[in-house]
């Protein structure tokens, strides 16, 4: 079964007032949304808040989803809006973005302690926000290039270019960390 097709039918049922469809959508889409927020150097608590806020916004504007259209880009376009609002509020409140050290402290300790396996936040730390967002959508949320383009209101070419530049930065970062050498050593 096409997973996105069933999301479409769940959205259509949600618009008709079906509570079981809401529960299914929340349980199915929240984990990837949560990972998306965490990848933007947002604390676990803030990611929880943003997830809640995103679902409340989705609920308010659920009528803007047109049956038959892909659900994931629609959802992420709203999630991005919530994230941008969060940054604006944080900026106004004089709250600086959390440092990389703080962000890394939020990931599972077992992951941080494993040698040769950098965590997602330290990997993405070197990337500009727009590239980080694209990598988070492609790799954490498993979206296609077309879906990312729709969610970010850009073209597929622009998304490809950002992903390419991000990979170049990640290649340099991983080389600095000696990650390739460590992998070779571990595999031999």
């Amino acid at each position: 079964m096409n997973p996105d097709a069933s999301l479409e039918s769940l959205m259509a049922r949600y618009q008709q007032g079906d509570s079981s469809a809401v529960t299914a959508l929340v349980h199915r889409l929240s984990p990837q949304l949560h990972r998306f927020f965490l990848a933007q150097f947002i604390s676990r608590r803030d990611a929880d808040d943003l997830l809640q806020e995103t679902w409340l916004r989705i609920h308010q504007v659920r009528h803007t989803y047109r049956p038959g259209e892909p659900v994931v880009p629609w959802l992420y376009a709203i999630a991005r809006n919530i994230r941008v609002d969060h940054y604006r509020k944080a900026y106004r409140a004089g709250v600086r973005e959390q440092s990389l050290d703080e962000g890394a402290a939020l990931t599972a300790p077992s992951q941080r302690e494993r040698p040769g396996s950098p965590d997602m936040q330290s990997l993405l730390a070197t990337l500009p926000e727009s590239q980080r967002e694209v990598i988070a959508m492609l790799k954490l949320s498993g979206m296609s290039l077309e879906q990312v383009a729709l969610a970010t209101s850009s073209s597929v070419g622009a998304v490809k270019q950002k992903a390419h530049r991000a990979y170049e930065s990640l290649r340099m970062r991983l080389s600095e960390l000696g990650f390739a050498a460590a992998r070779k050593g571990a595999s031999s």
């Binding site: 349980h27 984990p31 106004r92 997602m120 729709l150």
Partner: protein, 234 residues
Amino acid sequence: MTDGEIDDVLNRAAGASPEVDPALLESISRSVVSSLAPVRPLPRKSVLVAAATAICVAVGVGGAAMLGMHGIETMNPVQAGVIFPVLGVLIWLASRVSVSEMSPGSPRGAAPWVWPAAGSLTLLAVFAILFQEYRTERFVSQGLTCLKAGLLHAIPTALATWLLLRRGFAVSPIASGLALGTLAGLAGVMMLELHCVNFAAPHVMLWHTAVLPLSGILAASAVWTWRSVTAVRT
């Protein structure tokens, strides 16, 4: 290091991300279900685009009808045959962009500022080709009159189009304002082309065309100001 190896690292790092608290998911579900009611989805995009185009044309033509259709009566067939179809295409494109801006996850062909810039350049090119008179008497006073009249027609167009699209959701409010202002500006330009009899190239190229970007900038500024004011209150 190959792309495949980077993919591998990213996938493993992604797999290690912390899980969402199940209690949080339950709380979200309960909160959403508590206010659940059936909703009517937005009309199809083509319907909204047609309606926005109709509003823009109606305001432009209606305004000119009230002030007098002196411009089109004085134009030669080539001028009329080029200017109004070009305006029609620009209005249709601007309507499409405005509708897309109010629909989350809609494709966007170009950056928000490209549309008003491309529209203005198109009008400049068309006017430069079609109008060959280069007199500049009362350049500023007549120009300001036309600019004011064009912008005054943009206001009702922007309000009516906003009423049409208000059920949508602007993921980028300033870009939406720019798109809506551009569309409204085209209503002003249409009114001026139908009404104004000053066919001097400098007048038409500067003062008529200026309605388009100015209307877009004013609408985007209005949205920005409104957002700033509401942000300070919250």
